[in-house]
Amino acid sequence: MRNAFMNTVMDACQTRDDIFIVTGDAGLGVFDEFKDTYPDKFLNLGVAEQNMIGFSAGLSLTGFKVYVYNIIPFVLYRCYEQVRNDICYQKLPVTLVGIGSGITYAPGGMTHYSVEDIGIAQTLPNLTVISPIDPVEAKLAAQYSLEANEPVYIRLAKRGEPAIHDRDKFDITLPQVVKEGADVAILFHGSISVEVMKAYEELIRGEIYPLLVSIPMLQPLQKESLLDILKKMKHVICVEEHFENCGLGNIMRKVSLESHSTWKLKTMGIPYQFIHEIKNTESMREHFGISSSDIVRTVKDIAGGVNERR
C-alpha cells in the first residue's frame, strides 16, 4: 500500500511542479530515486516532529502541495498540536502519510503501534481520513489527496499487501461493496482486510455469504451511502485493527443510534488497554480476537441465529 500510494504521488511530479515531500527521518529506500530526480522537492527534516509539521504548514502557505511521510505516532501523536493548530485550524492542503497502522510493527512495542489514531483524527475538524484496505484504494487515496484542498490523513500499514478490489476506478469517498452478500455485513478498513478476506473464503466454503463493505474514507463518513448499502442487513459486524472504543466501531454505534437502524451492530477491535504482549502481528490479532478465525466464528454465531429465526 505504501508503494502504491507514494508512487502515485511521485509520478504526479512528472506533470506538476508544486508537489513537495517531507519526511522525519523515515522511509528507508522509498525516496531514493525521487530525491535524485527532484532534489529540490524533498527534505528530510530529521527527528524533530514539531518542526516537521509547522515547517510543512509554512511550505503549504507558499503554494506547495506538501506530503509529510512518517510512522503514525510521529505524524499525529508527537506533534498533535502542530497538526491541530498549524494544519487543520488553518485548513492547509497538507497530506499526512502515516505508516504502520494498527499493530503492523508488532512486536515493536506499544510506542510504535497506532491503535488510537482514528480516535485522535476524529478530534480534528477539516481533516479527511482515509484508511485503504489494499493497494487499489491506496492509489485512489493518493489521487484524491492530489486534488484535495483540505488536510488529509492517510493511514497505511506497510508494503506488499495483496490487491482485494478487482476494479481500479471507483469513488474513494464512498463505502465500497467488496463482495455481495445477505443478512450479515462486515465493515472494515485498513490492514485487517487480510483477515477479513481469509475469513470470507472460509465462510463461502460453508455457504455463508456475508456482505463485505470497505470504508476507505472514515472522515467525513458518507452515512447516507453506507445506510443505503446496509438497508437489507440484519446484522452489521465492524472489524478493525484499532482500539475498539474510538475507531470505526464507535462511529458506527453513533450511526446506528442516529439512524434508528434495524440491523444489530457487533464491533470487533483491540481492547482499550496498553499492549504488553510480545507477539507478531498475526498472533496479536488472534490474541485480541480480531483474526480471521474470530471473524468466521462471529459470523457463524450470528448467521446461525439468523437461520434459526427463519
Binding site: 514539531q50 518542526n51 515547517f55 511550505l59 502557505l61
Partner: protein, 260 residues
C-alpha cells in the same frame, strides 16, 4: 509621522483595545511596538500584496500590537478594532488567519509561528521568490522545544531570507525568564546554532532598522531585541502583573497622559 510618533499612536491603540476588551497581555503588546512599527513602516515590502514580505507574530498573545500596527499601516480597517475580544466581535485575542487581512498565520500556542515561518521562507527560496519572512518570538516562548528544533534546521537550509526577533523583555507570565530556566546566555546559544546574531535595544528604532537591514551572510538571522515589558507607560514598565492586568478607566487616562 516619524517612527516615534507612529509607535506612540500604536501604543495608544493598544491601551484603547485593552481598556475596551478588559483583556490581558497589555505589557506583552507594548513591549514589541517599536519592532513592529519599524518592520511595517520602514522595512517590509507590501507591493504588490501577492508578493509581500511576511510577518509572523509567533508570540501571538501580543495580538493587540499586531492589530494596532496593521490598522495604523492601513492594512486592516480601523473599524475592525472595535470588535477586538468582544462578544460577536471581529478579532480574537489570539490570531486567526481567517479573521482579517494581514494575519498571515493563526496562532496563540507558543512555538508554532516560528516554524511555520521557516517553512514559508524555504518555500519562497525554493520558488526563487525574493520575499522575506520575519517572525517575532518571546523569551518565554524560547522555552518551547519546537523553537530549538527549528533553530537546528534553518542554517542547514540556508534560510538567509528568514529573520527571527526575540522580544527579550525577561518577564513572562509568572516570573523572570532567567529565574525560571537557564535560557541565558541567549545570543551565544543562537550563534552556536549557526545563526547570524545581533543584539540591540529593542526600543531604538534606528538600531532595529539597522539590524533588520544587516546582511546575514547567507545565514538565518536572530535579532535579540532587549525590551521592557509594558514599554511607554511608566506604571506598566517591567511589571509582571501587566501580563494579565486589565486597563481600568482611570488607568487608561493615566496611560494616555504619558502617551500624548
Amino acid at each position: 509621522m516619524d517612527l516615534i510618533d507612529i509607535s506612540k499612536s500604536i501604543r495608544r491603540t493598544i491601551i484603547e483595545l485593552a481598556h475596551n476588551s478588559k483583556g490581558p497581555h497589555v505589557g506583552s503588546s507594548l513591549s514589541c511596538v517599536d519592532i513592529l512599527a519599524t518592520l511595517y513602516f520602514n522595512v517590509m515590502n507590501f507591493e504588490p500584496w501577492e508578493k509581500r514580505d511576511i510577518f509572523i507574530l509567533s508570540k501571538a498573545h501580543a495580538a493587540m500590537a499586531l492589530y494596532s500596527t496593521l490598522a495604523a499601516r492601513g492594512i486592516i480597517d480601523k473599524s475592525l478594532l472595535d470588535g477586538y475580544y468582544q462578544n460577536n466581535g471581529t478579532l480574537p485575542a489570539h490570531l486567526d488567519r481567517f479573521s482579517a487581512k494581514g494575519i498571515e498565520t493563526s496562532g496563540g500556542a507558543l512555538g508554532h509561528g516560528f516554524n511555520i515561518g521557516l517553512g514559508m521562507s524555504y518555500g519562497f527560496k525554493n520558488n526563487k521568490e525574493d520575499r522575506k519572512v520575519y517572525a517575532l518570538i518571546g523569551d518565554g516562548e524560547s522555552q518551547e522545544g519546537s523553537i530549538w528544533e527549528g533553530a537546528l534546521f534553518a542554517p542547514k537550509l540556508g534560510l538567509s531570507n528568514f529573520t527571527a526577533i526575540t522580544d527579550y523583555n525577561n518577564l513572562q507570565g509568572y516570573g523572570r525568564a532567567r529565574d525560571i530556566c537557564s535560557f541565558e546566555p541567549l545570543r551565544s546559544k543562537w550563534q552556536a546554532f549557526g545563526w547570524h546574531t545581533i543584539e540591540i535595544d529593542g526600543h531604538d528604532h534606528k538600531a532595529i532598522n539597522d539590524a533588520l537591514n544587516e546582511d546575514p551572510m547567507g545565514k538565518p538571522k536572530m535579532i535579540i531585541a532587549c525590551t521592557t515589558k509594558g514599554k511607554g507607560v511608566s506604571f506598566m514598565e517591567d511589571q509582571m502583573v501587566w501580563h494579565y492586568y486589565i486597563v481600568t478607566d482611570e488607568l487608561k487616562k493615566k496611560a494616555f497622559e504619558e502617551l500624548r
